[in-house]
Symmetry: C2
Subunit: 433 residues, 2 copies
């Protein structure tokens, strides 16, 4: 072979090897392939103003602290992690929630440090932050809610935050919700926003919110960090009842890795600035709020650490709704189901396994399983009409449905999850070091 | 640059890229780095004979079916998966267990296909196999136990097994336990054997057994496939009581991936050939049996799919032993703890998270956590004497201890697990396709 041919051949080999290397290495800092095309244009929520700042809590040169100022009379509802080791800001929010006042309120959030498992110093940090915010905005301290997300067990350098309160206050704007969504990200690959608009009579009510969350995401708790705002006028008790209720089938119905955060916080604030009164019985508002919550919950799954597939797990025919949810979560949390999805393997045997281990009632010989519309298994065995190629084709899609009918009752549940990939390992095997 | 120089440079690039590619790809078919140096020399168990054959059930050109023949009077005890979707052979074993007879008994096991979720055909396969074995060895059909391990939901080609029964019978030998251990492997990277010898008066009793298991390993069930034999003479009720009791802190105290098999089977056979009578109160026998069971259980963890670290999780100071085990398993099953271990990251914050989410009682401010002898966290925060470098150094070891004291009671539990690595993803994202 001549030298020119040799060079050509070697160059071809180099380019092939480079491609293989790219395929073998997983890119962890790209935007999730499941991300929405763009951040939505969030509406202004009258009565609420936002700002964000780069305080260098942990990350350098990026927004990492956000402030929301809420007008006098705003009602605030919340749900939180049920972790026995929950963080100082979660405990502080829980203590403050329900206290009413005609004065204003505020929410301050930082990313990079979760102020969890930080002992008495952690409580001190929360106090320092909320006192500074209260003074700057002239609102009562027990109306200042805070949340922190990031590494566990390191002291929160709260001085870096309190030093920025004046700057945050100076920049408050009704249009800055996207900046706030940016500021609360940790391993998130995209900021998450959602909105809804409803008509009540001839008046318009707006709902908008944002969330962060990517790993350490599992249900049976409140959930990651989510902040939702509306200009409707809603009594605190009604607001809380709606939020707790809708949470069960939205944020409490998603899982990335079965691990539950120590910091999960969901706050919903109703400024009342629209002067439109809404209560629990308002179906239109309830539906709109549910849409926003589901949208944000799904975006968290879509940004699941290392996710390449968005999976809906639907269980019907269970003895009860509670049983259905146990089965659905057992499937959604199974590492073997999630790796099969990652490998585009229509391995319904692992779905059978996950149902079997869940602890809830099932009869092996009444089970049926569909992947999308494809009937895969029925009556305790593979369906006679099923062809492996059809399953394999289906699994190549980005969005998948695992649809199980247990055939033993009327209970139903739907949960959402993502696949388990090399990138999850990569992200989490060197997150802190 | 001249062409020769160019070729030299490109060749260098190719060799560098090849090395990077090798590093980026994980080797999944090597022997686990945590494997014992060699398979132990198992003693002959008088009254038991073994053989193994390559029947091509799924794998080609390797042992995949094994037969154990047990002398008349042998008692057999067993524990099994509690999965609601358990396999046909498990259901058959459970139905047969406890039936006594003075005649012989047999155990037949195949690898490659688990005969689970195979409907009525699955039951038919079990019957075909056990009837053929019963006839060949002249033992009652209800004394022939079978187990199958491998893919779920595909019909078991039992003809390939029944065609080999005569060959299996012809080759029965007291020395073939290692072949039997080889034959039952699926994704296992090494065969697992263990033994113990005790003196009862001036007589010797032997215990020996083998196991398979690597993925789909989680406690709260009987366990993978394990077969243990002794020449002691033990009543069936005593044998069963000891086995069920010891199982709780051995096989039911390990987890690889929190997924529970549909096929887990542990059978313990006492041939009585030593004429040494043993009952539940015999502490020496109990201890020796426990040693064998723990040894095999640990080997399953050491062969956990993709494992590079063997981790003992010890929890003390819980409100009860049951609470301690819930906490220990929550830590051992947490993907975030397991990926931190894989990354040699002393991320004790994730241990705090796993305790918090477990659902069992804990008081954040009474917790203390040690990695080995290193006190990492105490009284709700990082220990003042802890240095991250010490933790990071410790995490580089192959065998790790995560030692948690809850400080709220006397409950204790110990469980064993492994780390979660890229190789687990690789093995399970293309196991079947």
């Amino acid at each position: 072979m001549g030298k020119t041919a040799k060079i050509k051949k070697l160059k071809k080999k180099v380019s092939k090897l480079k491609a293989q290397l790219v395929a073998a290495k997983t890119h962890t800092h790209e935007v999730s392939p499941l991300a929405p095309a763009r951040f939505p244009d969030l509406p202004v929520i009258a009565g609420a103003r936002f700002s964000a700042v780069a305080a260098g809590v942990k990350y350098q040169d990026r927004l990492d602290v956000m402030l929301a100022e809420l007008q006098p009379g705003t009602t605030v509802a919340g749900v939180f992690t049920r972790s026995a080791t929950r963080s100082a800001p979660v405990l502080d929010c829980q203590a403050k929630l329900g206290s009413t006042s005609d004065q204003g309120a505020a929410i301050l959030v930082n990313a990079g440090n979760s102020n969890a498992f930080t002992g008495a110093a952690g409580d001190g940090s929360v106090q320092a932050i909320t006192a500074t915010v209260a003074k700057a905005l002239n609102v009562p301290e027990n109306r200042v809610y805070s949340a922190s997300t990031g590494v566990i067990g390191e002291p929160l350098p709260h001085d870096r935050i309190t030093a920025k309160i004046d700057a945050l206050k100076a920049n408050l704007s009704p249009d800055a919700m996207q900046d706030a969504a940016q500021a609360i990200r940790t391993t998130d690959t995209f900021p998450k926003g959602a909105k809804a608009e409803i008509q009540v009579g001839d008046q318009t009510v707006n709902i908008a919110g944002f969330a962060k969350g990517s790993g350490m995401i599992a249900p049976d708790m409140a959930t990651m960090l989510v902040f939702i705002f509306t200009d409707a006028k809603i009594a605190q008790a009604d607001l809380q009842a709606m939020l707790s209720d809708l949470n069960e089938d939205s944020f409490n119905a998603i899982t990335v890795d079965s691990d539950t955060s120590t910091s999960d916080t969901l706050l919903l604030a109703a400024t009342g600035a629209s002067d439109v009164e809404v209560d629990q019985s308002n179906t239109a508002f309830r539906t709109a709020l549910n849409d926003v919550m589901l949208d944000l919950a799904h975006q968290v799954v879509r940004d699941g650490e290392g996710a390449t597939k968005f999976v809906e797990v639907r269980v019907t025919g269970a003895k009860s709704n509670a049983d259905a949810k146990i089965h659905a979560l057992s499937i959604a949390n199974s590492p073997l189901v999630k790796t099969a999805v990652a490998g585009e393997d229509p391995n319904w045997g692992r779905v059978v396994m996950a149902i079997g281990k869940s602890g809830a009632y099932a009869d092996r010989d009444l089970l049926s399983i569909k992947f999308g519309d494809i009937l895969v298994a029925e009556k305790g065995w593979v369906s006679p009409g099923y062809h492996e190629e059809a399953g394999a084709d289906y699994m190549q899609q980005d969005e998948l449905l695992i649809d199980v009918d247990l055939g033993v009752g009327d209970g139903t549940a739907t949960v959402w999850t993502c696949d388990l990939t090399h990138a999850y390992i990569q992200i989490n095997a060197d997150y802190r070091s």
